[in-house]
């Protein structure tokens, strides 16, 4: 029986989070009232012209450099023509001949820990279309042009992905990267990141790629994975029956988990690309490239490596703490303030992040120096780790501006380590329980635990157990 291999290439549209649109001053918007972020330029009024957005170009360069893609020092915009109600100029400004960069790669890590390099074919800049909404009115379609002109980067991979899991890992890694770079929120639900998934299957060992089908506009990682699974099985089933199929554009329905052919209005189209005469070629100097390179933040995989190798965190902790740039920045910032790395990692993973519950790191209401004091109470054994987590942390959440030590004091959980105090307690315990003490001395070792319990109770639980243990031992053996 023939074994098949799934081959997938992605076209990912990334919406840039620039201040204004790609070719005019309209502010970007998500969820605004329809047609409130439009100007004469984005409405393509007579006589208007596009003007390039330096921020769009610079953010494109950031992604290019972080993927080791080669920047085209002269790149240029082209017009891609098609008529649709949400395309006001009847063409889209894109880059057809000279994209901003070519080549490069993104390394992905799979669940089993194995790694894979996915090659990038190229990336180009373009503008988004508006939206046509068909289900508001029974007679008319509605057009919202708020999105028209939003800057996009389209990243096209080589067909290097071979499973739904790899596709999922790639998108997740790319999302993390664009968020680290601060160029896009990468949010698939909002449409800030959209994927066209090209899927084909071919017999294992065969160099010839099978006919490919393109699943358009997939809007979540989960759906991308499901589309790859469904579509590869569909294609294999057809091939096994000896049937063939044509290159198709498909839609993925998350409800049914199936793909179906789209209305093929675009397939035979001729886009009549030609260089946009309104926009002179973009020239990027080496010094501009160096400047952007200089400004690049540490990339997610570099941050994780640093956590593992320099801070000596384990794989799990490093993965979580490097997942988001702001979390990682917070971690390193507190390390600089002399926080104990392991204690800090534990606190962040077990308490701080669950407390934030997905909100921004910056929304934490506890000041950094308070966190530092909190951690030093544990490190200096003023409060035991378990008491600190169970009692002191909730109290701190309720009183974020109070010094943790004062809180611990009022909760009565500060550990007593003072030899004098503890010796006094032990003395009292021995004299109050002289029978048991005598039994111990005669060899009945198990009453030791009883005596420790008495001592702890006397200290209302705040004596440091190891100190109590040692003091009792000394007292009994005298």
């Amino acid at each position: 029986m023939v074994q098949y291999q799934t081959v997938v290439g992605l076209e990912v549209h990334i919406q840039m989070n620039t201040y204004s649109k790609a070719f005019c001053g309209d502010a970007l918007s998500f969820g605004a009232e329809p047609n409130t972020h439009v100007s004469t330029i984005s409405l393509a009024h007579p006589g208007t012209l596009p003007k390039p957005n330096k921020e769009h170009i610079n953010k494109g360069l950031k992604l290019a450099l972080s993927l080791n893609s080669e920047v085209n020092k002269v790149n240029a915009f082209d017009r891609k023509h098609y008529y649709y109600a949400d395309s006001p100029k009847a063409y889209q400004i894109t880059q057809d001949r000279l994209p901003i960069c070519v080549g490069g790669a993104l390394e992905i890590e799979l669940a089993d820990g194995s790694k894979k390099n996915v090659r990038i074919h190229h990336m180009h800049m373009e503008e988004d279309a508006g939206k046509t909404i068909h289900d508001i009115d029974t007679q008319y379609s509605m057009v919202d042009l708020n999105r028209a002109g939003t800057p996009l980067l389209e990243l096209v991979t080589e067909p290097d992905l071979n499973s739904g899991d790899e596709v999922l890992a790639f998108i997740a890694q790319l999302q993390q990267l664009v968020r680290y770079l601060g160029i896009s929120d990468g949010d698939m639900e909002k449409g800030s990141l959209r994927c066209d998934v090209n899927i084909s299957v071919n017999p294992v060992g065969s160099k010839i790629l099978g006919e490919r089908c393109e699943v358009k506009n997939v809007n979540s990682k989960k759906n991308a994975k499901a589309a790859v699974l469904y579509e590869s099985q569909r294609q294999i089933a057809l091939l096994e029956k000896g049937l063939t199929f044509n290159k198709q554009t498909l839609h993925f329905d998350p409800e049914s988990g199936r793909t179906s052919p789209m209305r093929d209005k675009e397939d035979a189209d001729d886009y009549r690309y030609f260089p946009d005469p309104d926009l002179p070629p973009i020239r990027i100097s080496q010094s501009e490239i160096d400047e952007i390179q200089e400004l690049l933040p540490a990339l997610p995989w570099e941050v994780k490596k640093k956590m593992k190798e320099q801070v000596k965190l384990n794989e799990y902790d490093s993965t979580i703490l490097s997942s988001d740039k702001k979390i990682a920045d917070y971690f390193f910032n507190l390390l600089e303030q002399k926080a104990n790395p392991k204690l800090l990692a534990n606190l962040m993973i077990n308490k701080i992040l669950p407390h934030l519950n997905g909100k921004e790191m910056s929304s934490i209401e506890i000041e950094e120096d308070v966190i530092i004091s909190f951690l030093s109470l544990i490190e200096n054994e003023k409060v035991s780790p378990s008491t600190a987590y169970q009692k002191l942390w909730p109290a701190l959440i309720d009183n974020p501006s109070k010094p943790p030590k004062d809180l611990a004091q009022s909760l009565g959980i500060l550990q007593i380590k003072d030899d004098g105090i503890i010796s006094k307690i032990i003395e009292e315990v021995i004299s109050e329980n002289s029978v048991q003490a005598e039994e111990y001395r005669k060899g009945k070792k198990k009453v030791f635990g009883f005596l420790i319990g008495q001592a702890m109770r006397k200290s209302k639980g705040s004596a440091a157990p190891d100190v109590v243990k040692k003091a009792l031992m000394d007292a009994l053996h005298n």
């Binding site: 007579p46 012209l49 063409y91 057009v143 001729d270 030609f274 005469p277 309104d278 002179p280």
Partner: protein, 472 residues
């Protein structure tokens, strides 16, 4: 009253109290009324001009130092140039009733210097034509010979100046649409270098060719207006960052080396009248001490084809936005979006516009792109290099503006190719992106004006204006 035809004279007369700006506007409005049959204006902003004149008269009286440099200048604008709160239609049915929400940069700069805009002028639809017979609102008629075209596409603009209905006019050029009507109507017309004047607010025809320019009766008025509208504009990425500077006449220059193209004089298209006027101009310039030298230009027979391939390609793209969805004419018959496009555009565009959109779509389509568009781009580069090569030795190039004088109405409109070929001498400057100025020299035997043009290297408008000023 006769206010005269130069800005300097008008400003002096206003200052010395000969007449007020209100008088001047009244005078022009009467001239407009008298020339109504020529159909130069699509709309006259009479009330607005009267109101603004009163305000400016007050300003002159009370705050003379606050007055703009161009106070006293009353101009018309071609109906492809946007003016906030005013209709703009590109002489097309598809934009019938459309009102612009903003002003073109050139218009705004003029308004800031206290210019009064008295109306918008008729032109060929979307500036496509050489006779001003392609307007959805009827042809414009030349004020010299009443059965003659005024030239196009800025025919209304040319006639508005020719008939003294205003001091000067803003027109636009893609392939001669200012110089050719200037020549046909016996006035001055300047096409600046590509990138000299912002195209923001100029309805696009061929984006890599289009430029706003000026019509006037004299060079100094032209220079004053150009100085204001020239210069970089952040709204137009193709506008040059090379400073425009001052277009003054402070220099006196000695004899110049001027090239003329031998093939032009011997070209089958040139009429005997124009040929002899050209020879006379050459002799006249020589008698003034300039050196006139015939040069070769190998591309004369390719310029028209190159021009039409590239401009129709750009036009087919630029005119895609007129779809009836957001503004403009929308067919009432359409049942779905596909029909909406087809019917709105079929009803809204005239024949010449449709012809050029179809040609442009054809030369850009897969399978023909390289044979037409790519090749034409290569030829354009060669033409540019050849022209630059001439300018390495010569300061200026002299050429008749048109092969013949203004033709009779309906004479060429039946044969588009014949009309295209009449652009042969003007399109060179647009292909090369250089400035060119058409000036009146004489008349044909039947009394029609003949114009010559001088071309200068890119952004050498100042040299060009200075030289032509010495000729009268």
């Amino acid at each position: 009253m006769n206010p005269g035809r130069s800005l300097i004279a008008i400003q002096e007369k206003i200052k010395s109290g000969n007449f007020t700006i209100s008088d001047l506007v009244q005078y022009y409005l009467e001239r407009i009324e008298g020339a109504k049959h020529l159909n130069a204006y699509l709309e006259v902003f009479a009330d607005e001009a009267i109101t603004k004149a009163k305000i400016l008269d007050e300003k002159l009286k009370n705050q003379p130092d606050q007055c703009g440099k161009l106070i006293g200048a009353v101009i018309s604008i071609k109906d492809v140039i946007c003016y906030e709160g005013h209709k703009v239609s590109a002489s097309s049915k598809i934009l019938n009733g459309f009102e612009s929400l903003y002003s073109a940069t050139a218009v705004q700069r003029l308004l800031d210097e206290d210019v009064i805009i008295i109306g918008r002028t008729n032109c060929d639809e979307f500036a496509m034509g050489s006779g001003n017979e392609n307007s959805a609102y009827g042809p414009v008629i030349n004020g010299v010979g009443e059965n003659r075209v005024p030239g196009g596409s800025s025919g209304g603009a040319a006639v508005s100046v020719q008939m003294d209905t205003c001091l000067a006019a803003l027109g636009s050029e893609t392939g001669g649409s200012i110089r050719q009507p200037a020549a046909f109507t016996g006035i001055y017309g300047l096409k600046p270098s590509y990138g000299r004047v912002s195209r923001y607010g100029l309805i696009a025809y061929g984006s890599s060719f289009d430029q706003i320019g000026v019509f006037s009766h004299d060079v100094k008025t032209m220079a004053s207006l150009l100085e204001i509208i020239a210069g970089n504009d952040p709204m137009d990425a193709t506008s040059s960052t090379t400073p425009a500077g001052k277009y003054d006449f402070a220099d006196t220059r000695g004899p110049q080396k001027i090239a003329y193209i031998d093939d032009v004089l011997n070209h089958p298209s040139i009429s005997p009248d124009v040929k002899s006027a050209t020879l006379k101009t050459i002799a006249d310039l020589e008698s003034r001490g300039h050196e006139l030298v015939p040069v070769n230009f190998d591309f004369l027979d390719h310029v028209v084809a190159t021009y039409y391939i590239l401009t129709t390609a750009e036009a087919s793209s630029n005119l895609g936005r007129y779809d009836g969805i957001r503004y403009g004419h929308r067919s009432k018959e359409a049942k779905d979006i596909h029909e909406l496009y087809i019917k709105s555009r079929s009803e809204g565009f005239g024949d010449e516009v449709k012809r050029r959109i179809m040609m442009g779509a054809f030369v850009l389509s897969v399978g023909y792109y390289d044979a037409y568009f790519t090749k034409a781009q290569k030829v354009r580069r060669l033409i540019k290099e050849e022209i630059e090569n001439i300018f390495s030795t010569f300061a200026l190039i002299l050429m008749p503006t048109t092969p013949d004088v203004a033709w009779k109405l309906n004479d060429k409109s039946a044969d588009p190719l014949k009309e295209y070929l009449a652009d042969i001498y003007t399109v060179i400057a647009n292909l090369a992106g250089i400035p060119a100025l058409s000036f009146p020299v004489s008349q044909s035997d039947n009394g029609m004006p003949i114009g010559m043009q001088l071309m200068a290297p890119q952004f050498k408008e100042r040299d060009l204006l200075n030289f032509v000023e010495t000729l009268h």
